[in-house]
């Protein structure tokens, strides 16, 4: 029952923005860290945590944006059915001692099974989650919103983990310790 409640709650993590689009928005205080450190870590996160995502600099310094996607699955615990994918846009903006991030532009593309058994996107069918109910049934729409909420939370948790760790930065080259057997 707890897990069902948790699953249902995931869709409540999404809100509507001023353009009436679903958004997952968070502001995080990070005392003691400068904008330079935060933006380095944000860039490292964007490049390594989701390597298939695109990443580019935002309009102002210290900002990054990009697009990504995740699979939408349904079915039994042991054998899933891939319903489709959700494409999204993410934004990360850094300032001294705090940063904010948000995910939005959630667009669902249904998958079909091709002749080889591969699940592939149906061409030309893109359904923004905001208009999901006009093209999907309610159960599907709720399930996809739940999965979008759960993914967004996971994305945010991962980002937070990267932002607090100094080790998240690219490791500096360590000079190899060499022992000379000539002198002893």
């Amino acid at each position: 029952m707890l897990s069902v409640k948790a699953a249902v709650a995931q869709k409540d993590l999404l809100s509507f923005d001023e353009h009436n689009k679903y958004i997952y928005y968070q502001v995080v205080d990070q005392p003691g860290l400068s904008i330079d450190t935060l933006q380095d870590r944000a860039l490292y996160f964007a490049k390594t945590a989701y390597p298939k995502n695109t990443v580019k600099k935002g309009e102002t310094s210290g900002n990054y944006t990009g697009t990504g996607k995740f699979l939408i699955v349904s079915g039994l615990a042991v054998a899933k059915h891939i319903d489709g994918e959700i494409n999204y846009t993410y934004y990360i903006e850094c300032k001294d001692q705090k940063y904010r991030y948000w995910l939005t532009d959630f667009v669902f593309t249904p998958y079909k099974v091709d002749r080889y058994g591969n699940s592939v996107p149906e061409q030309g069918v893109d359904i923004p989650l905001e208009s999901g109910l006009s093209k999907l049934d309610k159960k599907q729409s709720d399930s996809y919103l739940n999965q979008a909420g759960a993914f967004s939370k996971q994305f945010g948790d991962k980002l937070k983990a990267y932002m607090i760790k100094a080790s998240a930065l690219p490791p500096k080259e360590i000079k190899k310790k060499v022992i000379s057997t000539k002198d002893w």
Binding site: A79, H81, V113, N118, Q123, G124
Partner: protein
Amino acid sequence: MYQLIIKQPYFFNLNHLINMKKKILLLLLAASAFSYASKAQDTVKTTADAPLVLYGSVDTYYKDDFSGHANIPTSFASDNNSISIGMVDLGLKKTVGNASFVGELSFGPRSDASIPTSGYHIQNLYVSYNLTSKLNASAGYMSTFIGYEVISPSGNFNYSTSYLFTNGPFQNAGFKLTYAFSDKVSLMAGIFNDEWNAYTSAHDVSTFGAQLTVTPVKNWTAYLNVATGPTSGTEFDLTTAYQITTAFKLGLNAATFSPAHYSFGGTYGFSGVALYPQIAVSKAVTLGLREEYFKTNSSSDAALWNDISHPAAPLPGGSVLASTLTANIKAGPLTFIPEIRLDNINNKTNTIFTDNNGAPTTSATQFVLAAVYAF
């Protein structure tokens, strides 16, 4: 911890027994924690890779040929004036890291008519590996890369099938490499068994196949295919589909086939083209037309022709114009497919149709109502 337990002296002393109990409990807790951690790792791993995926379909149909008997010879939906079954199609696939497998089983009359050995029930059985992010290798028994239509009813818009589909390959067993030059261009090249639609080769692995995939603009994909071999013959094929607007899609299939010089058993050359315009008229209903022209080469050997018990084509030199109007009415995973089809062969000397008196006739008309549940 286990060592600590077995080293306990005075095993039967009460205090030691209590201590022992505590330690066993701790051991059990540790074991559960370890087991939980292992499960958590598995969960992470499963999430990172695609889950075990189950897919498939079930289909059933009713057909009424206006002549009173089955006339149109293309694949499947062959029973006339009968509520008949298609097949249960059941596929499993899994990807871990760069390795994948697909196993697709099928049962039923549609399955029997689409695979070489009905007892095997295998539509797809192959493994594949991503050698790099752009290069994939696959080997096994795979659906053919040729043509627009497929065996699974959930993969087609029309329920009846085209002459190009029926006369082309269904499956090719072999080994293929696919290289993606970019998001818009990829090339597949492979070596396949000498005969199409066979689980094992007759003599050798001598059919060469290639597919150039081009995506000129978003939602438009074109496939240029060739399969050629000294036993199987040579087929060139163009398959393309363009979702021009959210409501309108246009598909095209054109192909030409030349039999091998020393092939035996009744193969014949053909060429044809089929156009597939489709328009969504509501959230649940899409209408589509298949307009196909198919010609049997006049050079096809008439003697070999007689060996074929049920040729799915006009007699050598003949051509057929097949018009199929289909609706797809969706109710969740279930699709109802009402369809009316009119086939016309160019003249009586080349015809394979008979009227309700059994006399040769140039045209055949049928109505089909099918239901396909896909998951």
